[in-house]
Symmetry: C2
């Protein structure tokens, strides 16, 4: 990683030097500049790429070649060759990530700001895209089917890397989930403990009660519940082989079956809780993330999560959207990750570092711009009146 690259996530707010602010539209319309035909074509293609992204304030460039910019660019993206640019252009949502990971695309400026800018522009842009952009958009929303082998490979990259890697950047609480910051100034570890207490308070755990936890990670919440709240916890996790199997079959169509299992666990009087990444409306995961990071992953809209509850008359008591807390959690993870760069590179390789940086930075951007949500949903059997009278107990000191 060179010096320019090191400035990625802590880079300056000001635009990189030498960028001329203009608009993609004016670039497309302006007369041919006084240099070679190839460079002119490159500028036109870069402009189209910018327009297809909703004209975010960025500079796009080919190394030692054409460059275009919109507004006051927050970052510069440089393709190492025309070939790379053309390869990415054919499938920006998937191939930008791959080219970034390979190092054939470099970013100057703050990577998180760059990605936030792209998310925001995509939302603003809405229905007024040109035909090329529409094609890109169709690619963006193409459902991605995993083979069993492919899933195993991808999952190996994400979950089967060893605890030592996760210890480098998850903090001492070792929780790979959204934390809860009582104030934005709380530390990561404080916020992870606060999250566990927030969940336990929502569930109103009482000593001697039984808890079933499905998907327990490193078991930190289970231990917290048992030690601090005196409950008996049965916590479940599945091996990576099982994950590969389940991921392929998991999805919204199985939510009704999931709800049936939950209902049987709760009996007539239990309390249930889901902590899940979600969306404001049904849409697939970003294609590069889905292919390289979370194969088969799908963040549901609340209307889709309803398939867990409705067939079983489970009653939704409380929904809290904590997306800004997940953005903050991810900022802390990313900072720890960047601090452990050398160590990660020695454990894996440069491509791995770039891939995980892009994943973490992209996740900050997605939660910060409202492209992803974090829903905490408290629920109970429809006939149960063992439900909290108010939520004031969550906020008592």
């Amino acid at each position: 990683m060179n010096a320019v690259e090191q400035s990625l996530t802590k880079g300056p707010e000001r635009p990189p030097e030498g960028v001329v602010a203009t608009s993609a539209a004016s670039l497309v319309q302006q007369p041919a500049p006084a240099f070679g035909e190839g460079k002119r074509a490159d500028r036109w293609l870069l402009s189209r790429m910018l327009a297809s992204l909703g004209s975010p304030p960025l500079e796009l460039a080919i190394r030692n070649g054409a460059r275009v910019g919109v507004g006051t660019p927050v970052a510069r993206v440089t393709f190492d060759s025309r070939a790379t640019m053309l390869w990415v252009l054919a499938d920006v949502p998937l191939r930008f990530g791959d080219a970034y990971s390979d190092g054939t695309v470099k970013v100057e400026g703050d990577l998180v700001s760059l990605l936030e800018t792209v998310y925001r522009a995509g939302r603003r842009d809405g229905g007024e895209r040109d035909p090329l952009a529409q094609r890109v958009s169709r690619v963006l929303y193409r459902p991605h089917l995993n083979t069993l082998t492919g899933s195993r490979d991808n999952i190996h990259h994400h979950y089967d890397i060893g605890n030592e890697f996760y210890e480098l950047w998850l903090g001492s609480s070792m929780a790979y989930t959204c934390a809860y910051y009582p104030t934005p100034a709380a530390t990561l570890d404080e916020a992870q403990v606060a999250k566990m207490d927030h969940v336990c308070r929502k569930l109103r755990l009482k000593p001697g009660e039984s808890v079933v936890e499905a998907g327990c990670g490193w078991g930190m919440l289970a231990m917290h519940m048992a030690r601090r709240y005196g409950v008996r916890v049965r916590a479940f996790n599945i091996s990576h082989e099982q994950i590969a199997w389940a991921r392929q079959r998991a999805g919204v169509k199985n939510y009704t079956m999931l709800g049936g299992v939950v209902q049987r666990c709760l009996g007539g009087r239990g309390r249930g809780f889901i902590h899940s990444i979600g969306r404001n409306r049904p849409a697939p995961l970003q294609p590069w993330i889905e292919k390289r990071i979370f194969p088969g992953g799908y963040p549901p809209a609340l209307s889709e999560m309803a398939r867990i509850f409705e067939p079983w008359d489970l009653s939704i008591l409380d929904v809290e959207n904590l997306r800004l807390h997940y953005a903050q959690t991810l900022r802390h993870w990313l900072a720890l990750f960047e601090g452990a760069n050398e160590r990660v590179r020695s454990m894996f390789d440069e491509k791995f570092v770039r891939m995980w940086r892009l994943y973490l930075a992209g996740s900050v951007a997605a939660f910060a711009t409202g492209s992803l949500q974090l829903f905490q949903v408290l629920f109970a059997p429809g006939e149960s009146n063992d439900v909290p009278w108010t939520r004031a107990h969550l906020y008592e000191r």
Copy 2:
């Protein structure tokens, strides 16, 4: 109204005298008793009616005739004649209410307990109903289409009765919506003021802001917002002619249009709030309530309410289910209503008193047993980061 009827809503918890505890099933199976064929047939039909309701612990009787009971009955229902019993049997969900209103069905014991028992039994009963019960169930869930004239007539009964009537039982806060009880011991008026503050805190109103209120009732919330929070409120309500028109066209299929109007009101940074009766899963309103009390009314499931939010990328921030608070509000309304019985009868007639008693008691039962929910939903445009960091501010003194 006779002495027995007066005990309706404050009646004894113990079962009425002279009731023999048995089960509907054993009644159906036992050998013919030693009295006339007609009475034996009546007992069989009453047993079927009880079974069709899920065998709740009730006694059903025909005046001076047959009677059957299940378990330890919480109340006795007496039909004034075999003809009334047969007429009700053909469509229990709709005609029980009509016969009760006419006084051809009387109830001894607590009406709310009776109705809670029926709601609970219906839920327990689930999918194991006999063919007669299935027929009753189909009737229960038959969608009810209103004619324009019919809607006008029904709405006249509900909304066009004059403020003097509502002043008798809504309390000084004059709010015909679910209150919020900081503790169960709060008075109705305290809880209505607390509700208004709870809503204003959720919206984090700041002086000088603009509020649009759609459906403002008597304008108490609008005035509270303006006086206590220094905001400018534009509050809308529609005449009963418009209600008749709108009700006919209103419904889940127009939620997307509603969401579009809301989104335009909010711009990119506003906050939105919905306070609505709802359900755990899609189902029509109870047929008698829908026909006699709220023509065209439909309490949506959250998955249906999603049609307001999803097409416009509105982000759900907070959902609170206050159904137990609505049960409590309705208990307070019912007690005030019973205290004003004589006054209401002199303004209208005995049938009106019985109809409104059944409506209020049935609503207590529906919210207390979880057949109806009260959802408060806070939302914002998906791109807005002007969202609360936590909900702690709702519970500060």
